[in-house]
């Protein structure tokens, strides 16, 4: 009997890529709010820049932000696996234990955030300790992701590391390769976190000022690390110059400046949209870097495409239903809250 072959893409590559990058951008925004938000809240309470109620107000939202980060993270992970599973699983297997501990770290962080949010302003110390624990958990996750995904872009490195040690306790030793990349992502999170802090604290001078500090400071620092990272890519950088990604990068940088401008004018709508587009641009650049680094080893365009349109239609319909139901529930929820207030 001829058994079915599973080595195919059930939709054109461009469609999968669009979904992948779109959902990943959404995930990044939620993650940035969470990671940046927790960091800024901790920092501001430690420096006594914020009073208890302000910090508690932010702390109350973090569990929901975690839920959003996790749920929005599942989709891009799915699409990533669909196209790049060979690279991704291989890298994950080599660092198996560290990879698996991501789940434990997220669970710890999540519970810590719930703990802090239920704590309210009652015991400031306990709540701070919980936030700190959550921050450490989140940083662990981000570091593992940077190290594993960067390893996934270097099949030769995976082969070498695996040949030496198969226990799953291998931590990617090429820190120079992903350290900056990780720092860039974290600083980006602080930047976007600063935006959200400013947005939510727009009516409180002190809070808005904090948001502004982190937005501007984060952006400068992220730009610097991003720049150095790009330079460290050497020959890939030259290749990058010949792809549309260089335009996306230029646009993303310009958009982030535009976003700053609107932020200062307290036009959060335009500031938010431009910031989002800027993040999307960066995501595209990151994707291009991945393709360039994998060139010669793997080209996603080599996938045979055998569309499954009816299951895809099911997905599309459910996706639209999801948006409608979400909007409807959120309207009811916030409408009720406004009425209550």
């Amino acid at each position: 009997m001829n058994l079915p072959d599973y080595e195919f893409l059930s939709a054109p590559l461009w469609l999968v890529t669009v979904l992948h990058l779109l959902t990943f951008t959404l995930h990044l925004v939620a993650m940035n709010f969470l990671l940046g938000g927790v960091f800024i809240t901790l920092w501001s309470s430690a420096r006594k820049r914020w009073d208890g109620p302000t910090a508690a107000g932010f702390t109350r939202i973090f569990p929901a932000a975690t839920a959003a980060t996790v749920t929005l993270g599942v989709a891009p992970l799915l699409f990533l696996q669909l196209v790049f599973h060979r690279q991704m699983y291989s890298a994950a297997i080599v660092s198996g234990w560290f990879w698996l501990l991501v789940i434990a770290a997220v669970i710890v962080a999540y519970y810590a955030l719930y703990r802090a949010s239920f704590e309210g302003q009652r015991t400031d110390r306990a709540s701070k300790a919980a936030l700190l624990l959550a921050l450490l958990g989140l940083l662990y996750v981000s570091l593992v992701y940077s190290s594993v995904f960067s390893m996934a872009e270097q099949p030769a490195l995976i082969r070498n590391l695996y040949a030496k040690d198969q226990s799953g306790w291998v931590w990617n030793p090429a820190v120079g390769d992903y350290g900056l990349r990780w720092l860039h992502m974290v600083l980006g999170a602080v930047t976007v976190g600063g935006f959200f802090v400013g947005l939510l604290g727009r009516n409180d001078m002190e809070v808005f000022a904090t948001g502004k500090t982190f937005l501007v400071g984060g952006m400068v620092a992220a730009a610097l690390t991003g720049m150095v990272y790009l330079l460290s890519l050497e020959q890939h950088l030259a290749a990058l110059m010949h792809t549309p990604a260089i335009w996306a990068l230029t646009a993303a940088v310009a958009l982030s400046l535009v976003s700053l401008h609107f932020f200062f004018k307290k036009n959060f709508w335009l500031s938010g949209v431009t910031l989002f587009l800027s993040v999307a641009g960066m995501v595209f650049v990151r994707h291009t870097v991945r393709l360039l680094r994998l060139a010669g080893e793997f080209d996603p365009a080599s996938w045979r495409v055998a569309p499954q349109w009816s299951p895809f239609a099911m997905f599309l319909v459910c996706f639209v239903v999801m948006l409608i139901v979400l909007a409807w529930m959120l309207r009811m929820f916030f409408g009720a809250k406004r009425n209550a207030a």
Partner: protein, 503 residues
């Protein structure tokens, strides 16, 4: 074999079970619990029953903490772990079902959002809106089950898909509906058990009495649906799969028997506390119910996983990632030609990809004790005949030279002393051990492959002769390569077996 191999000292089966059992338990509860909350809220509001509403609000806090955090994340954890321990099968599942998973994701998003809004909205939302959100939660949580059920049942019974490769053929496979209804019953039952745990903490009184009574009803209904469906599910599994399991694997069948006893225990406790003494439901009793529920469901899931052996996807991919579609190329060029990540030690690489996903050397399903005191030629023969061994093993499809390499690798790690010395045995007892190690792997005494009758009435010389030509007795049967002392002992044991069989 396109991936590196994660060489953990813990058995893959154990690793998977730890995460999966917990996740499956919580995720079914998450669905049933949602239904319990919204139905009970509706009843309580109609009756103006404010203590009940308070109880439900408390329950929903627990619910959010358990399901949204532990439930959702262990679900993601399953993705992580299967990518590590069964990357090939995961790859196949994702390529075939990516739009199924993506659809499931849309349900997941709504489910999570609804759970949070429901939890945070108790005080602020209108009852109508609040209950509407509760229903949205339940419907979408159940829809996620609908999708995942299609993929899980596909793995056991891919049905027509094996011929057509069509998404829907695999999705609506022979066990789809039975499993869906069964799991829905489990959801309802677990919701009951869980709410009982919360209710048990209340002081004995009128409120506790009616709450326990009502909640026990959920448990009973869920249990009844489940019990009926278990039979239906069992019948829906193709006869060939069941027959093979019955013949070679008594354990999964035992697990079904346990599960009947566990279900009876759960039913009895539910009746005792639900009908006879609801006020006396203590934390301990409620916790016991919970444990029984976990054990029961564990037994069922274990059964499902066991009868799927030796496959991950029946008729398509074996438990070690060996793909049936590649049989011809394995046989021609061997496994190593397909192993992408090499370590320089071919024996170790082959052992990992051929055996290690189910066995360890000296931990879970250890191979050291079953080979200690035997020899390289014997091990190589056993590997080539893996499909003949008890326990439903995948066949070894690599080359003979590769079987030798694995045998080398293993024999270097074994106890090389003679059997008599390792186990401090002599005479017939030594023979029994030799039988266990050299014959019992295929000829299980008392099972279909028992050969005791062939030894009846044979002299020691006859039996010795038989051992001389062992390799000719059946295709795949190993030559006798043991030492002389062992051989004598084995012959006396075989003679004894023969006498027993004649009676």
């Amino acid at each position: 074999m396109s991936y590196p191999f994660w060489d953990v000292p813990i058995g893959y089966g154990v690793l998977m079970a730890v995460i999966a059992v917990f996740h499956v338990f919580v995720s079914h509860f998450a669905i049933g619990g949602g239904l319990y909350l919204v139905v009970s809220e509706q009843l309580a509001r109609k009756a103006g029953d404010s203590p009940r509403l308070e109880f439900l609000e408390k329950l929903s806090r627990f619910f959010v903490l358990v399901t949204l955090v532990a439930g959702a994340l262990t679900g993601v954890g399953i993705w992580f772990i299967i990518g590590l321990i069964a990357p090939t099968a995961t790859e196949a599942l994702i390529h075939n079902y990516v739009w199924g998973w993506a659809t499931e994701w849309t349900f997941f998003v709504v489910e999570i959002a609804a759970a949070m809004i429901y939890f945070y909205g108790w005080k602020t939302m209108t009852p109508r809106a609040h209950m509407a959100v509760g229903w949205v939660y339940f419907v979408f949580a159940w829809l996620s089950l609908f999708i995942i059920n299609g993929i899980i049942t596909f793995m056991l019974t891919p049905g027509q898909w094996l011929a057509t490769g069509d998404f829907w053929d695999g999705f609506f496979n022979p066990t789809f509906w039975a499993s869906l209804v069964l799991r829905t019953g489990v959801c309802v039952m677990l919701a009951g058990l869980y709410a009982l745990l919360v209710a048990s903490r209340y002081q004995a009184g009128e409120f506790k009495e009616r709450t326990v009574r009502y909640t026990a009803g959920w448990g009973v209904v869920g249990l009844a649906v489940t019990a009926l469906c278990q039979y239906w599910y069992w019948k829906a599994i193709p006869a060939a799969v069941v027959a093979k399991a019955l013949q070679t694997m008594p354990t999964p069948i035992h697990s079904i028997e346990y599960s009947v006893w566990l279900a009876a225990g759960i039913g009895a406790l539910l009746v005792v506390f639900g009908v006879l003494a609801p006020r006396r439901l203590s934390m301990a009793a409620a916790a016991l119910l919970m444990v029984l529920g976990l054990a029961w469901f564990g037994a069922f899931e274990w059964f499902r996983e066991s009868i799927r052996k030796p496959y991950v996807i029946t008729g398509y991919i074996y438990g070690n990632g060996v793909e049936l579609a590649k049989t011809a190329s394995y046989k021609k060029d061997g496994y190593l030609a397909q192993v992408v990540y090499r370590t320089g030690d071919d024996g170790a690489d082959l052992f990992r990809h051929a055996c290690r996903s189910c066995h360890t050397l000296d931990g879970y399903k250890a191979l050291k004790p079953v080979f200690d005191g035997t020899d390289r030629a014997f091990i190589a023969a056993i590997i080539r005949s893996a499909h003949l061994l008890k326990g439903n093993m995948p066949p070894f499809l690599g080359t003979a030279a590769e079987a030798d390499k694995i045998a080398d690798y293993l024999s270097q790690r074994l106890d090389k002393r003679p059997l008599a010395e390792i186990y401090k045995l002599e005479g017939v007892e030594l023979g029994r051990k030799a039988y266990e190690l050299r014959c019992g792997k295929c000829h299980v005494i008392g099972a279909a492959s028992d050969k005791s009758k062939s030894f009846a009435g044979q002299s020691a010389d006859d039996l010795n002769n038989m051992l001389n030509m062992a390799a000719d007795l059946g295709a795949g049967m190993p030559a006798y390569t043991g030492a002389a002392t062992e051989r004598g002992a084995l012959v006396s044991f075989l003679a004894q077996l023969g006498k027993g069989a004649k009676k």
